[in-house]
Subunit: 399 residues, 2 copies
Amino acid sequence: MIPVDPERFLADLHHLRSFGAAGTGKGVVRQAFSEPDIAARTWLRDQYGAAGLDPQVDATGTVWGLAEGPSLLIGSHSDSQPEGGWLDGALGVICGLEIARAARGVGLPVSAVSFQDEEGRFGVTTGSRIWSGNVSLQEADTLCDASGVTFAEARALMSHLVTGEVDPSRFTGFIECHIEQGPWLDAADEAVGVVTDIVGIRDMRITYFGEQNHAGTTPMHRRKDAFQAMLQFQQLIAERFRNVVTPQTVWTTGAVDVHPGSHSIVPGRCSFAMQWRDGDRDRLDRMEQILREAAQEVADQTGMRLETSGMLGLQPVPMDAALQSALGDAAEAQLPGRWRRMQSGALHDAASVANHMPVAMLFVPSINGISHDFAEDTAEADLVAGLKVLAEAVETVLT
Amino acid sequence: MIPVDPERFLADLHHLRSFGAAGTGKGVVRQAFSEPDIAARTWLRDQYGAAGLDPQVDATGTVWGLAEGPSLLIGSHSDSQPEGGWLDGALGVICGLEIARAARGVGLPVSAVSFQDEEGRFGVTTGSRIWSGNVSLQEADTLCDASGVTFAEARALMSHLVTGEVDPSRFTGFIECHIEQGPWLDAADEAVGVVTDIVGIRDMRITYFGEQNHAGTTPMHRRKDAFQAMLQFQQLIAERFRNVVTPQTVWTTGAVDVHPGSHSIVPGRCSFAMQWRDGDRDRLDRMEQILREAAQEVADQTGMRLETSGMLGLQPVPMDAALQSALGDAAEAQLPGRWRRMQSGALHDAASVANHMPVAMLFVPSINGISHDFAEDTAEADLVAGLKVLAEAVETVLT
């Protein structure tokens, strides 16, 4: 096994947390291009340099530590949610640093990376999507965050660090270690999960336009209540999804806007989010068809106008068989009976990188399944177990 | 019939609109205690004086024009919604001015009034509720508007106009003329409606507390989705209301807050308004029982915490039989076959005033049922028809 140093690894992981440490527990506030994020990336660049790697920063703010010649890439992202935990992304980044550093000591070519804005201040996995060609830098530059700042304006804050672009063809593959952000490993007392595939996502906004009116003087049969149309729609899809979904499928309405939002006014407009995820592209498509038909049926029945936003559609991404198998063998060797193969319900940078090379992912447990919250945590023994499985798998892949 | 002057009446009505005239159509922006509202009330006080009535302003900002001795009170309110029409309240106020003026000319004792803040910048029918003893001035003084201004601060803006309090016992009854704010008269091409009762209102906020979580990694069976709990609740009450409600009953969810409101996060909290109205107190109570039981059932089934706000409960108010009958006789004499008896689904000052004396209400049509909107309007012929029915009924009552 590549001779990783668990204590150095944990010390670096805790040091990374010091950039933007906040909130209760091990909370972190380190959104892409914030002051703590830029400070963390500058520190990381210096660590790559100190490890003998060639430190690079590209135009998106992604930070690289490059080995010479063709190499295996290990990493994740060091930016956080507006209120995040200390491991989401950070774990994979410090795994990359430690393994690249240790691999260099034994003459194995491993590069490391921290992609920029995985958490989506400007969309979804912004840095890795640009790097992998899913979106052009020019298009991305026009994206705005919630307060109206453009990606172009934000990345200008890191322009003094930029060294140039990094050619994807120099890498032979990518492995990302990440916390699970779900309950399965923790509930089963298992130490690692080898990811089989990253689910696809569909995301859109649906709006019904009814008639705003007085809630006292408008009889029920005369109403065009946009909130009631939304209720009808939700009931319809709940029924129709039953024979289509699997226990892995998820769907969510996480944002709702009822207009004008007064107790005494029949809502004239109701706008709401629909997001659904599954590992099977056909199933995602069938769900989309059900959603669109149901939305239209309700509009027709109620005589309301329906508007649907453009749809974000990310396809499911299968992990590379050879890399998966190296991770599985290493897990079985080190943690017999305490690991599983599993799907990733969350999106990760690996999904973007898969455009260019074989990719794989390794999960460690999230205590109580918590993530995107200050309370996010993982036992240090599990963090180290993940590092060691990764180190052994990387050695297998490279030798 | 008391010799009312339709042209003078319409001229005054249009003049009142000039205070805060805004928006499209005949829109008015004249919220309680705003500059246009205080200007309108000052003008009104002077009109009462010019008509030979004793002009008074009480501590709440309600403006009175008092006849000598025991008198019948006619009026409504001259404050508007944040975006209102020219007739909502204003019509009843100018009916009061015109009838009191004309009645004085023939020796009949009619007083006039414009109650303050019927539209509820500080709650619900604030001025008339204080005057009728439903809420004390001391309590009301602590009420805040949406921007944090207290009622005490707002009414201080009118303190230079205040003359003293007006004793309710000087009035023998109250009649309020108002636009319908609903579709019935307009749809049937009828000219006036004699109100039988003002519906009661119950209003509360219900909140489910679930568990905020990742919308990709949290399987459906592990979720405590507060939005889904709200859906279950809405479905349950829709079923259970069926055998309880009448075609006059209404219920509304007009405000919904889904927290934290992200496409990718399972909502941890969902807070929503429930308001229901009916003319029958027992039915209102039965609906409340259904709501509370359904809310608790869903909380129990889903393992969520339920919170319900304090409830606003206004009882239905029957109109006085003798006054109703005088209005009905006058309507039938002047508009045979073009009037009806009907319920008021909207709350009005008459509901407060009923604490102290016999009350009645007369409706004129709202074109397309529109109100609380700049587009609110009524044909001038219908406005005059209402005035004349009212004038004849007042004469009957007083002679």
